[in-house]
Every structure is written in C-alpha cells, then in structure tokens.
Symmetry: C2
Subunit: 325 residues, 2 copies
C-alpha cells in the first residue's frame, strides 16, 4: 500500500497548537504508517518540545524524494516577535498563517495528500492583517463547494453556514443554497472512508416548525430542497426536529447530520465528542482535518494540553487519504 | 414530615401519556411518600392499564380529607369520541385539556402542592379549539414571569423563549427582556431543591460573538443585562460560547444554563438526558413538572413506552414540594 503524505501545521505559537502537534506525533508508533511532515519554525518546535518534555528528531523533508513512512520537517522561519504567550498577537498570527499557507501550497502542488492544522487564533490573524476569518474561510474562498464538517466515532455533523451572526445564518436557509449544500456534502462524502453515508437534515425552528405553526422555513425552503436532492439520487431525509436529530443520528452508523447554523451543529457535537472530535473540510481536492478545539491561550506552555483530538485528526486524515487511493 | 399532594394528569388519551403515568405510579413503592392524585377518565385509565398489564386500585380522592400517602383518583369524564389512537384528534385534545385544567384548578385552590402533566398534543388542542399552544403557554399567560426549564442529574437549562420561530426568538434577545428573565429565573430557583444555583448565560452567536466580529447582541444586549443582574445580586455570568456552555455547566453541581432559544437549550439537554429529563415550570405559585418527551403516537397502546422520564418528573415534583415546606 502507498504511504500517505500528511502535512501538519503548528498553529498559533502562543497557543496549545505546537504542544498538541508534538504530543500527537511523539506517538507515531501508535499512528498509522505515513510520512508526517511538520510545517513550522524550528525555534517554536524546540520551545514547545522543551516545555512538554518531548524531543522529536524529524528528518529534513524531501518533497520529491521516495515516499517513506516517518517524521519530517519543513522549516518555516517566523517573523520577529513570534512566540509570546497568553494572548493573540500579530507576529504569532503572521507565523501561523505562513505555516498554513506553506502546507496548503505543498498539498495543492501534489506534494502531500492531506493537511492537518493545529488551532490558530482568528484574532491573531486579524491583527496580522490576514484577510481570512480562519482556515476553513480561506479554503472555502479558494474552493467553492467546500463544506465544514465534524467527525467523531458516534456522530458526524456538517454545517450549512458557520462563522456568521445567527440572524444572518437564519437568512441563509433558502432552497437554492440548501440544494447546493446537499450536493456539495454528498460529493464530499463520496470520498470519505466508511460510507456510503445518509444525510439527516435538521429543521430550523422548534419541532421542525410543527407543520408551519412554529415557522415557515421547513415547508417553504427545507422540504423542497430535500425533495429536489432526493430526486437527484442524494440519500437525504428530513427536516427532523433539531433537538432530536442528533439522538437519531447517534444511533446510525452511516448518518451525517446536516445542521443549518454553527451552534445547532456544534452544541450537539461538542457535548457528544469534546476532546476527541475532528474538524474535516469536505469537498476539497485534498484532505484537510484539524482538532475541534481552539488555541486555549490560558493553558499554553504548561504541558497540560490534551492531544487526543489532534491524534484523531491525524488518524482521520490518514483514513481519508487511504480511501482516496 | 408533611406528605406532599401531587396531581398527575393523563395527557392525550391517544398518546403514551396514560401508559407512562400508570407505569410510573405502579412503582409507588419506589416513589417517595406522597398523595398521588390521578386526574383522568376512568375508561382511559382502564384501557391503558389493560394494554400495559397494570392494574391500579386508586382510592377516591377526598381533597379536604386528612393528608395521607397513597394513590387516589379524581375521575374526569371525557367527551364522546375520546380514545382514538395514532394521530391527534379534537376529542382527545378536549379531554387532555380537561384533565389538565381540573388539576390546575385544584392546585390553585390549595388542594394540591404540585401538578405533574403527561404529554399532550399541541395539534389536538388546536383541533379542540383550545387557545393555548401547550401546558407552559397556558401557565405563562396566567402567571407572567413563569420560566420553562429542564432538569436532569447533570444538567439544568432554562429558556428565554420556547415555542416561537427562530427568527422571532432572535428578536427577543433584548436587554430588558433578558434582565426580566434573569430575575424571574433567580426567583424561581430560590424555591428549587439543591440550591443555591448560579446562572450561566449562553451567547446568541457563534463563539458568543467573538468580541463583536460574529454578532453584536452579546455586547449590546446580553452583557449589559448580565451586568445589571449582577449588580442586583443575582449570581449570573456570561455570555459564554453556546457550544461549550453546556460542557461548562455539566461539570458544576449548582449551575443552570440560561439558553436564549428553544433548540439552543434542548439540543444540549436532550443529548445529555433523553429518557430521564424533566420539564419544570419555574416561577409559579405551585410546582409543575412533566416528562421531556411528547405523545409518541407511533408507539401508543403497544406497551413499549419508557416511563423513566415520568418517574423522574414525579420524584422532582416531590423534591420541589418538600423544599417549599
């Protein structure tokens, strides 16, 4: 079998990203065989390793060399001022964007199969003048049809919209946008391991509108989109009451919940899977996963960060890459 | 200790209400000592008992007699046509409203301490011409300041609004309404067993607005209301990111999440507690609880209904009544 090549970005140097990346990669013996390539500043890696008591010895990455399993490094020098802790800073934002963009360039050039991104700070990116709201925002602008989704052993959730105010998110629940979302999600899921998957669509209103008494979107927008997608052969059903669709999906091995706004999807997902959930961007020409937690500035540099979600992100990147071969 | 007097309504005769009520009361040996008074039609009780293989022998209720523990019946004849199964009907709606109103009249007259309501069908109430959207809607109209809340062992959630379309619910997130909600919730919690409680307020937008980047309500409405309530001595904090506030609350014994709309509260609550959660209306001059599930018309009359949530509703009504003595 071909060994997948998986890029790993360090994330924000001031957060727990470098720590969880190193901890997860220090467990390469229990990770599936792949070429894991760290994208980051050797100074940041050294500091995080010292704090966490981990000493990795990656080989220099030779992108066009023979494929082999192991741990490799692509050194990315970061700007002056990088490394401060405890709060978002411009230099850390610029550094984490550099690590990310270098890995994305490599995967786009076909030098990697997957990218796993440790958490960045959206505020730090803003301070650094990065025009994107986050990893997924960047990827969506470059790859229309990308879908933000969350994976855990018992529950999978995809989001129609994510980092927008709730009042705006409600306005995006329209038949045309929903139909495009179902198509993109279905296409993305066809490359996912463990399928074929069915899509369970959440309603927008309490009790999925209770036959129109508690809201019109289910009848006027969601149901017509579900019907149209079904006619195209997409395995989709709903809308289901938002407060029970997760229970329904949890009991089914091949179900993915299509959630209509950020917290509808993530309240359920985080309660179910916090600590081991994985964020997957579907619908890209490559695989991209990341842990489902943030930078946790408050515990950065103290050796306390739990690497489980990062480890699961690496494993899932491997499974998606293997499914694509 | 004084024995609490707890009225129990049968709910919709076409749903699983009568079945879960009888199953829960058949376990009186494991219920705390109280006078449990069934409000319902003896014919409906007989049919449900036969189907579930339960034969209860309640004594006639003497509301002004000596307080004694046991099982009692207040017979409420229901209109012709009551009893059909599998779908909402006008006669069943009229019957379940009669059972409910009789119990509420008794508790208002001081003849009971608490009312536990088995599930009704909102559609059946509409078909019967009942002008209320449900039990809580009825109680709120008669008792302004009533608050819908949900209780389980590990998580408690109160709702700013409930059975309204999401777009309307977003519009209700205003400083004045929030401050009134925090006051009413705090008052209601002071009569609850196991306190004193602290209130954790959920934000409205992703990441609680991320400092204004993902929505303005946190800064302009929610934070000012939290600050004003704090100045009044109410133990309230937030707004917290909606997708992690439930994790935060789950780890704290005395925390209640103030959720800003129906599904924000219930997605988290039902994943955490489905099957044993209890709906509690706070802020009434009496105690009212109910199971957190609906009529489940699809399994009615088949003996399959799980009475755990109803049993917990009876237990919690007892605890609330005992705390009030």
């Amino acid at each position: 079998m071909t060994v997948p090549r998986i890029g790993v970005t360090l994330g924000d140097p001031g957060g727990i990203g470098p720590e969880v990346a190193l901890k997860a990669l220090a467990g390469t013996a229990i990770l599936p065989a792949a070429a894991y390539v760290l994208f980051g500043d050797p100074a940041v890696i050294g500091q995080a390793g010292e704090e966490a008591g981990i000493r990795l010895a990656p080989d220099p990455w030779k992108p066009r060399g023979r494929r082999a399993a192991g741990l490799f490094l692509e050194p990315i020098p970061s700007p002056p001022g990088t490394g401060g802790r405890g709060a978002p800073s411009g230099p850390n934002g610029a550094a984490s964007f550099l690590f990310f963009e270098s890995a994305v360039s490599a995967v786009r050039a076909g030098l990697l199969d997957a990218v796993v991104t440790a958490p960045i700070s959206k505020t730090a990116w803003r301070l650094a003048g990065v025009p994107w709201r986050g990893h997924t925002d960047y990827l969506e602008h470059r790859h229309p049809g990308a879908v933000m989704s969350f994976w855990s052993e018992r529950l999978r959730v995809a989001l129609l919209s994510h980092h927008v105010p709730l009042s705006e998110a409600v306005g995006k629940v329209r038949k045309t946008a929903l139909l495009e979302f179902f198509r993109a999600l279905h296409r993305g899921l066809q490359k996912a391991p463990g399928g074929p998957f069915e899509i369970l669509v959440a309603g927008l209103n309490p009790h999925a509108g209770e036959d129109g008494a508690l809201g019109r979107e289910e009848k006027e927008e969601i149901q017509p989109a579900v019907d149209a997608a079904s006619r195209e052969g997409i395995p989709v059903s709903g809308p289901y009451p938002p407060d029970t669709v997760f229970l329904r999906a949890r009991g089914r091995e091949k179900a993915v919940v299509a959630a209509l706004y950020h917290d509808q999807g993530l309240i359920g997902f985080k309660l179910e899977a916090f600590g081991s959930g994985v964020n997957v961007t579907l619908g890209l020409p490559f695989v991209r996963t990341s842990p489902d937690h943030g930078t946790a500035f408050d515990i950065a540099g103290r050796g306390l960060a739990d690497p489980r979600s990062m480890t699961e992100a690496l494993r899932l990147a491997w499974s998606f890459s293997a499914a694509a071969f």
